[in-house]
Symmetry: C2
Subunit: 550 residues, 2 copies
């Protein structure tokens, strides 16, 4: 059968080591800045691979990491999958019971753990030893091992005395190379495996002009955690492009990020909006030299327009990207189409605030409640289905989820989106939060955003409540401001929503509450709201007959 | 088994049609400029696919093309492989016996042929009907069919009445999608198959920053023929990037190319040096507006330094790329490393004149005559071995060639190269032309270039002649200028070569000839020189004992 050699990560490391031996991999640590170059990085990674092989791994075993962003963590990125083992990045911010579940589900045999995170991991492991029973050893990411009940060895001892060359094996491209669990806001976390081919494909795709291309004059600083979908794949693509790496280390403060940008000449950085809100505040109050910074990638949740403006004003292009654990993760990037370069600034901002244009190599469709594809008119919406070489087609050991969440080779993302005439995808709601009323969908998220914009509203959550005639009707939960007149607020908000939305979108009732309940990760806990308020009497008889969708 | 969906060409077309329906596909034809946009292109390609399926193809049958660069040819690029059939691009410049061999070897079942090329194809087909016996029909790329003995139908009739939508099948990624024969300067042409995955990989790789990235504001004009390794894959990558396509049609003259660049705002064009030499002459004598042109890609043979300077002076970046039919084709691109941006201009030119930096995703090694890898010092050389997801691992139906030309998963390219400290690969010679003397290699190509630079030399060819003691010794064949003194020329050239090369590189003899014999494609026919001059007496006893390599 004709074909080329397998798609694996190895050539990316080989190329960087061969062409850019002097380009740096920089890490902020508790002890200051640590510098390697690709030549040293490759040698240390080869030592790691030799140590892994000597320890008896390299044939599909899952090896976990429990670490912040630093160069030792980066060494596991090529070192672990390169041997044939599978790199399982574990989120240290999860509650103990999730960590226990994840380690036990993955059956990790070795865990690389930061010294500062060792107490947290030790707590989880000793509280439920059974869930950790497959773990044979803990490798502490330091020179020496602190006092611990765990069977631990220091990373530097683990790799010391190993040869600095390693005969990287020829791996098949469908070999599992990575594993990451979805954050699991509802239900058990689900594992998503990444094959060598998926990581290769994602790397190549985000290196294309409409991805997040990195060249040999770029300096990439991923603030997005390396335990979160491989830091969006940037450590791999930076290597493929021969870029310099800068890792911000444990819990960087805005001042740390500003200093790294200035001193290491960072050209591209990436993280969630919260990180950049912090940096914005810091920049407003301090004199920060952003002249090296060209692009700032925002993902994880929507980039507020004010943030885009703030960085535009400072000659930094804020690029909004969208993805999921299941999409490895980049699925869309909101770069500006060339035919919009002459559009007015507000139009450009509207486009750039959306989730973006589908990444080349992927396909998507948007399916409404009737199973029909919706047109790209910026108004109609439905669930986003997506597929492609780096989009998973199954969950790890979860056959029941596989039946629910895939269709025709597409992943059903659970995101309800609209797509405008220019192809920009916009998330309208989460599928489980969208309100199905009279055969049409109402976006709870849009109503919430509209309500929160009202002067008398501090917080707002909108849920669907079962309704005999209309299937569901929207119910708004309002946390009013201190000055608000609670007597008249409902009527006022009803009129206010009517200004922008059709009658049948207007919530049937506005219930005043003290606080919107939140999940562990700070998101609105709509499930508990639904459990508490799913009472037909709250909406029954309140919807006028003419409020039905046409 | 985990994994994403297969890597096929389909998503590239789907994305262009979805995001860029109004972006143009422009063709120069005998009847003037023909314009489509991606929306129309996709509809016509769907019609073609429906017609192919209705004609009974789509399950791996090989369908040939015998065409220049135009939009109908481009329609076959997605239309044929998209059905599951295999696109076999045939070089119409080949002699009849090669065409007959290729069609018979490939067992083409249908051939798309340009009206202007029909007489040529008809000649080959009727001279040896047996070689064409699998061909069921000829589709003439026009509105109507001229008089012909072949069973022919017009392309427009073939696709007319077909639906403008086609339900593109889910293809496996190792499905053969393309086929191209090597030009075969020696021996029978060898077929190289491209799978869907190889074309996908190549497309993604050349879209990366160190490839030939094309974005949605680019206008790509491939002058390199579409019958030659898919016009270097640019029709696929331009589609993936959402770029505008400009096809220069049948046998474009420099004036045609200049006009297309000016009128269609071409930003990137690509072709062999001969094409650009013609354009340079035209530009010198005419007022050509090159302001839209950003990059000019040169491949096929080396880009002379003067050409790079010429286009630099006009703010057009000449990018030298290297590849082979076997590498689909781009394997290296001589873009300037960012750390050379401050180097002096001559250093930059030296780098940019080389074959380039390995394309991300590939691996190579350089192996000398002893089977050892040579260091990257710009001096030592050996045969280039290359491997990767878009480098073939076998020839079509040629098991004996497969044994010879592959090793450890690497393609043995037959190019003898050096690699400098910066990683730039430079072709030093063809493996079959390199002279093996005393266990070391002497580059015939370097000696020829040095000799041709001498004022008294018009042409020079250097071949290896068998030698009992040294295995081979170099023999130079010189075509002197009219003014040269043939009596003293040999001694003069001997001294001249000694100025730049070690003693053992100096040819043992300088034989005066009238003309260097050439192959059909204009290359030096060293095989016939070797046949005629492989006479030990011409070198015997002429090499001094101290001329041996150390």
């Amino acid at each position: 059968m004709p074909g080329g050699s397998p798609q694996t990560l190895r050539p990316f490391l080989w190329r960087a080591e061969t062409l850019y031996p002097d380009t740096e991999v920089v890490s902020r640590t508790h002890e200051g800045i640590v510098r390697h170059d690709y030549a040293e990085y490759a040698e240390r990674t080869a030592q790691l691979a030799n140590a892994i092989e000597e320890a008896g791994y390299g044939d599909g075993e899952r090896l976990g990491t429990f670490c912040w962003n630093h160069s030792r963590h980066f060494e596991t990125y090529f070192g672990v999958p390169g041997t044939g083992a599978q790199l399982h990045t574990i989120n240290p911010l999860l509650p103990d019971e999730h960590i226990q579940y994840i380690v036990s589900d993955a059956q990790d045999e070795l865990i690389f753990v930061d010294e500062s995170l060792l107490p947290k991991l030790e707590g989880a492991a000793t509280a439920d030893p059974e869930s950790f029973e497959t773990v044979e050893q803990f490798i502490v990411m330091s020179d020496s091992v602190p006092e611990t009940e765990l069977d631990a060895v220091a990373y530097e001892s683990f790799i010391a005395d190993q040869p600095t060359e390693y005969d990287w094996p020829e791996l098949e491209e469908d070999r599992a190379a990575g594993l990451c669990y979805t954050s699991g806001t509802t239900g058990r976390p689900k594992g998503v495996e990444y094959t060598q081919q998926m990581l290769w494909s994602h790397t190549m795709a985000i290196q294309s002009p409409q991805g997040i291309p990195l060249d040999d004059d770029d300096v990439m600083m991923p603030v997005v955690p390396m335990f979160h979908v491989n830091a969006w794949g940037l450590p791999f693509s930076a290597t493929a492009g021969g870029a310099k790496h800068v890792y911000p280390g444990p819990q960087p403060e805005p001042a740390d990020l500003a200093k790294l940008i200035e001193e290491e000449d960072v050209t591209v950085t990436a993280g969630v909006p919260t990180v950049w809100l912090g940096l914005m505040e810091y920049i407003k109050e301090n004199d920060v030299d952003l002249s090296s910074l060209e692009r700032l990638i925002v993902g994880g949740s929507a980039a507020p327009e004010a943030m885009i403006r703030f960085f535009d004003d400072r000659d930094v292009e804020l690029v909004h990207a969208w993805g999921m654990t299941e999409t490895a993760p980049v699925g869309a990037v909101a770069s500006l189409r060339s035919d919009l370069e002459d559009a007015d600034y507000q139009t450009q901002l509207d486009k750039r605030s959306k989730q973006g244009l589908i990444t080349p190599g992927l396909e998507f469709r948007v399916i409404d409640d009737n199973g029909d594809e919706v047109p790209h008119n910026g108004e109609d919406f439905g669930e986003l289905h997506i597929r492609g070489p780096w989009v998973t087609t199954e969950y790890f050991k979860r056959p029941e989820a596989n039946e629910q969440e895939f269709e025709d080779g597409y992943l059903k993302t659970g995101d309800v989106v609209s797509v405008d005439e220019d192809g920009y995808i916009k998330i309208v709601d989460r599928a489980k939060d969208v309100i199905k009323s009279g055969g049409e969908w109402i976006s709870s998220l849009e109503l919430e955003n509209e309500l929160i914009a009202h002067d008398d509203v501090n917080e707002a959550a909108v849920i669907g409540v079962p309704h005999e005639r209309w299937q569901e009707r929207p119910l708004a939960m309002i946390v009013p401001t201190a000055d608000a007149d609670e007597e008249t607020l409902g009527d006022e908000l009803r009129e206010y929503i009517l200004e922008s939305y059709p009658k049948w979108w207007v919530p049937d009732n506005f219930v005043t509450i003290d606080e919107v309940p939140k999940t562990a990760t700070g998101k609105f806990d709509k499930k508990s709201l639904r459990d508490e308020y799913a009472d037909e009497s709250l909406v029954e008889g309140r919807v006028p007959d003419d409020a039905a969708p046409e």
